[in-house]
Symmetry: C2
Subunit: 335 residues, 2 copies
């Protein structure tokens, strides 16, 4: 080192004479406060760094990456909000209550993730916009948007033929749902497995009936032209369970627990990305305040009411009013 700084410049900044400090900090008390702030910020940063360093030996690189990112964000949350110890205790108490109410049938942690939009953000990053990479730009089509799966999907639903009845005795206004399954290049997808499930007109899924009935839940397969159709019931809005801590959070934020009226789809086919989504009823008053942020404009559909006496598209004769809607499904390539 040929250019050794004079000792004064090496002095610990904490020992610097406040009179020689930045003119804006010429007031000794302010200078003391300014240094205290810098010392404080350094302490907080050093703590975060210490925690991040503790993950250096993690066996899985991905686990390490996730823990580091989680730590950075949780520490930043505490630092930015200057979270008080009493508020931290409220948070611990909230998670504890979520644990207490959770059992085989009730999952409050998923509800919490849902109402904070974390579930939907996870869905969003795992179902990135996909346009056709082949053909001209004009032909490019986007894959159908995904939305939350929710807690009511059950494996092993009954199969119905195309045009068959999915309602299976569930109460509700009949609703004809039809469309096609294609890939992002516009090719029909024959034999796609289409799982559908929905609540009845009371807003209840079969698994909430308290018996073993299977209703408003089935699967079918698209035909050789990618077409499908079925009879379901017109969806109605219903609340998420709001008698626990997540319900209290919704009340504190004056938010509705209602989910916008919807019908669930899960569509899978060889070589294509499985799509879990809903379609929503355009008239539903909860479209703009769905409690779990599942609504995407591209998924809002016209459920067109048919006058009583109008025969169904399949010739079925119905006593009362019924609805019909169309939903064309575009599956992204497998990743």
């Amino acid at each position: 080192m040929t250019n050794t700084p004079p000792p004064a410049e090496q002095a610990d900044p904490e020992q610097a004479d406040p009179e020689q400090a930045d003119p804006e900090q010429a007031d000794p008390e302010q200078a003391v406060a300014g240094r205290a702030n810098a010392v404080q910020a350094a302490r907080e940063e050093a703590l975060t760094d210490e925690v991040l360093a503790s993950f250096a030996g993690t066996e899985s690189g991905r686990t390490q990456e996730l823990l580091e990112a989680l730590t950075r964000h949780l520490h930043a949350f505490v630092r930015e909000t200057r979270l008080t110890e009493a508020e931290w205790a409220v948070g611990i108490g909230f998670l504890t209550r979520c644990g207490e109410i959770t059992d085989a049938k009730r999952q409050e942690f998923i509800l919490l993730s849902d109402v904070l939009g974390v579930s939907m953000q996870t869905i969003t990053v795992n179902n990135e916009t996909v346009r056709s990479q082949s053909g001209s730009n004009e032909m490019a089509t986007e894959a159908t948007e995904a939305t939350v799966v929710g807690p009511f999907f059950v494996e092993g639903s009954p199969e119905v033929p195309i045009g068959g009845d999915v309602a299976g005795g569930a109460a509700g206004e009949p609703c004809w749902v039809a469309g096609t399954v294609t890939d992002t290049s516009g090719n029909p997808v024959p034999g796609a497995r289409i799982e559908v499930w929905e609540a009845d007109e009371e807003g209840l899924y079969d698994v909430q009936y308290g018996d073993d009935r299977v209703a408003a839940r089935a699967h079918l397969f698209s035909d050789e032209a990618g077409r499908y159709a079925f009879w379901g019931v017109r969806p109605t809005p219903y609340p998420i369970p709001d008698d626990g801590p997540v319900g209290d959070l919704l009340k504190a934020t004056r938010r509705s627990p209602m989910r916008a009226s919807h019908l669930h789809f899960m569509v899978s086919a060889e070589g294509l990305h499985t799509l879990a989504t809903h379609i929503f009823v355009r008239e539903c008053e909860f479209l703009t305040r769905d409690s779990v942020f599942g609504v995407k404009q591209s998924l809002v559909k016209d459920f067109v009411r048919q006058p009583p006496g109008t025969p169904g598209p399949d010739g079925r004769l119905l006593d009362g009013p019924w609805s019909r809607t169309e939903f064309d499904i575009i599956l992204a390539p497998e990743r």
Copy 2:
């Protein structure tokens, strides 16, 4: 507007001819991918904004601020890490297991907060560096640093006189602890309430004995010169409970569950900020890898071993070896 741009410049960027785009995106496929990325980023941002907006009606402004900050950070975590749905499910399962193991005696959510350094960061932001605002800069003193309270503090400890026995039958090498309590201007604080508690030589607190014994837990008051002293036991390291999900997390990250050897203090006095802290034993091998990040260099003390036969500072005659340490406590002003 006198300088109306030509229609071409007003065109929807999604409809722009890729051949006219940025030269770096001249390849049509890249251009399509670039636009897809922009559409995707916009979707993710819009979702976060939608969740933030849902808190607009929150009754308490502070609750709204906390929920907004939490939402921003959780969404950023999901977006930055591109969290998969399977990883999200692992996270939900982890919280669920934390709930299952938590009961009146076991608090896994606090342990989780501890091992991620969130508890310590909360302590840190609530115990900001404080220097004396009065007197010359040379006289300025920093308040003693705080650290985690931990789960073993119990209200209603027995009182002992200055120089009294805190051990109360707890096994361990006797240890004389003495010091003064002052404010940040150097004034002695008489009558400060000093709560102390610690584990015995087996690493167990009295509440872990399984009976009603009270041991290694007491309170005393500083004298008119701010002085205090007591007999305790020399602290030893012990593990945090690691037979639950938090223990699994420590194993996955190859971290030790051990807490560095320490003795707890909680010191309160009229008009001053209550301080909860520890002192640590300088020789402890876990100082640099305390499982809850509670160690601060300023809190590491020499616990000086005395040869057998050396009488105690109070004239007490001891059969075997004993230690002594000093801890001067500086309390910050009340906030």
